[in-house]
């Protein structure tokens, strides 16, 4: 499977990565050759095989719904690039170029 530059740009947008033109140029052939390498998986017949998502059996793990204050709010907020009062501060959210 070959991937072209336009697809690289589309995937970069989905991944929220601003790639430079140089990176696009580098990634297009590299991703293509890696995707080609993946094609060998087609040699294996997997018609009646259940996909394996995990190696151990775990059913839903739950805990009681009680507030735990292991981590201090102040300590958490301090790690944010920008904060205001008890909140994380972010740039304008409305009218973005979301597709």
């Amino acid at each position: 499977m070959k991937i072209d530059r336009e697809q690289v740009q589309k995937v970069a947008h989905l991944a929220r990565l601003a790639l430079t033109p140089a990176e696009e140029e580098q990634f297009t052939p590299q991703l293509s050759s890696i995707l080609e390498y993946f094609e060998q998986l087609g040699e294996l017949n997997t018609d009646n095989i259940e996909p394996m998502t995990r190696v151990i059996e775990v059913s839903n793990v739950t805990r009681s719904d009680t507030i735990q204050t292991e981590i201090d709010r102040e300590d958490l907020l301090r790690e944010a690039p920008a904060q205001e009062g008890d909140f994380f501060r972010v740039p304008q959210i409305m009218s973005t170029d979301e597709e």
């Binding site: 991944a15 929220r16 990565l17 990176e23 095989i49 690039p81 973005t96």
Partner: protein, 486 residues
């Protein structure tokens, strides 16, 4: 080379103090770091404080555990409260976790003395530690070569005796491959044996924390301290944890007839001749020790690599979505809106390999390609596990080379990602099947570079794995050789 057991005796007998041990390690780090670059952060103050606390306990006549006062390195993808944790990524530059990972908390409680946080490939993505956003770690056996990766800092630090033992993490070979290239013991436990709470996630269905040591026994001591159920990790297994170190002492020989299977598919194409020779010689040694050797076929083994490079980047693309410049980490300046802020921050903060894997994973999971890539890879994963299950009906332990080559030159494989990915050919299927695997040094090539043998066990088969590895180690003296670093 002094073992943990010997150091412990010396501490208890008051022949040496924990502060002395810490200072020795810190001095050595100071001396060697300009050449090696194994550590991203050196934690001298907290190390000395912890060592003093251990000495106070000894002075008060209190009993101390095996790891008390032992200098240890921690891979910098495990959160340490109040101490920077960067994952070798610029996106986490200056990040100081407000909480402690379960493994480091357990080590603190055991009195272990963390001397620093070790270098890695950014977010544990790589096989040479060259993908670190900060520095390139050198191989102690030849400074022009890589230590392997992604836990290259931990492997190099242990090989160079900058610390006695270290923790790494292993998603596709990131403990075993650098252990092989640096000539130390490295163990990836069964998936679920060690809590990942506080381990920065790369590929969650594969990630596992494990120990590095200069002997099997040292690795066993460290494993005993970190293994066990943790309610904070929902994939953590509720199992009894044996005292692994006790099981292999003193000169243990496995009881009864031990059946060892050579994985046929790991010998041949792409394997260095010298690696093949040394591993085959090691298998002969196992035979002399009484093991019954069989040749086992795992027909899907080599499909592990392509399956892994779909599954791991897919999981990574989801896991790394959390780096959104809102809650922690860096933020790009002057973004006009939220989406620009995400894109620019991630462009500035992530290195090339991380971007490449996020791209791969995003592509593999995207509409129209999911069935062809991700779903197919998960089905292949089931086949690989089935191959291992079949093999373990015939044998107790499987053996293969750990890495197809000895340590390669820095810069040799950075231009071609696929050639770098091939370094993990032998180790990846073990992660896909969730099995325990260990690297044991088994010789040197003509350049004096270490060669490693990989032993693979059944799920929760760590005890037998360590016993076999220990028996081999006792019959050889590879582990006694140390790199000539002044």
């Amino acid at each position: 080379m002094t073992s943990i057991r010997e150091l412990h005796k010396q501490l208890v007998r008051k022949e040496r103090s924990a502060v002395e041990l810490a200072n020795e390690a810190l001095d050595r780090i100071q001396r060697l770091e300009p050449k090696l670059h194994s550590f991203l952060h050196i934690t001298a103050d907290s190390a000395l404080a912890q060592a003093k606390a251990v000495d106070a306990k000894i002075a008060a006549g209190e009993e101390i555990g095996m790891l008390a006062g032992i200098p240890i390195g921690i891979k910098d993808n495990m959160c340490t409260a109040g101490i920077p944790t960067t994952c070798a990524s610029k996106i986490l530059d200056k990040f100081v976790p407000p909480y402690e990972s379960t493994v480091t908390q357990k080590l603190k409680d055991a009195g272990a003395v963390m001397v620093g946080k070790t270098n890695l490939d950014e977010f544990a993505m790589g096989s040479s530690t060259e993908n670190s956003g900060y520095q390139v770690t050198a191989n102690p056996w030849d400074l022009s070569r890589v230590p392997g990766g992604s836990s290259g800092g931990s492997a190099a630090a242990v090989a160079a005796a900058e610390c006695v033992v270290a923790l790494g993490s292993d998603t596709g070979g990131s403990i075993r491959q650098p252990a092989a290239l640096c000539g130390v013991v490295g163990l990836k436990p069964t998936y679920g044996l060690v809590s990942r709470y506080g381990l920065v996630a790369y590929a969650s269905s594969l990630d596992q924390i494990g120990p590095f040591g200069r002997s099997v026994e040292d690795a066993a001591v460290l494993l005993s301290a970190i293994a066990g159920y943790d309610p904070k990790d929902s994939t953590s297994l509720k199992v009894e944890i044996p005292n692994y170190a006790k099981l292999i002492r003193p000169n243990f020989r496995p009881r009864g007839r031990l059946r060892v299977g050579i994985i046929k598919e790991t010998f041949g194409g792409g394997l260095d001749t010298v690696v093949e020779e040394k591993v085959k010689a090691a298998i002969e040694t196992l035979q002399h020790l009484g093991a019954e050797i069989q040749i086992i076929s795992c027909p899907t083994f080599s499909y592990g690599l392509p399956a892994y490079y779909i599954i791991a980047p897919s999981e990574a693309s989801a896991n790394l979505a959390r780096y959104d410049a809102v809650k922690y980490g860096i933020r790009a300046e002057d973004a006009d809106n939220l989406v620009e802020m995400y894109k620019e921050t991630r462009a500035q903060g992530f290195g090339t390999e991380v971007k490449r894997r996020i791209m791969l994973g995003t592509y593999a999971l995207s509409a129209g390609y999911y069935d062809a890539y991700y779903l197919k890879a998960q089905k292949v994963r089931a086949l690989i596990k089935q191959d291992f299950d079949n093999a373990f009906e015939k044998v107790d332990v499987l053996v293969s080379p750990t890495s197809p080559t000895t340590a390669f030159k820095a810069g040799e494989k950075t231009a071609d990602p696929l050639s770098m990915y091939l370094s993990d050919l032998m180790t990846i299927p073990v992660n896909l099947a969730g099995l325990p695997g260990i690297n044991v040094p088994c010789g040197f090539d003509d350049k004096g570079l270490p060669v490693g043998m990989q032993l693979i066990g059944k799920p929760l088969g760590e005890s037998l794995l360590l016993q076999v590895a220990h028996a081999y180690e006792q019959a050889t003296d590879w582990h006694l050789k140390t790199p000539k670093l002044q």
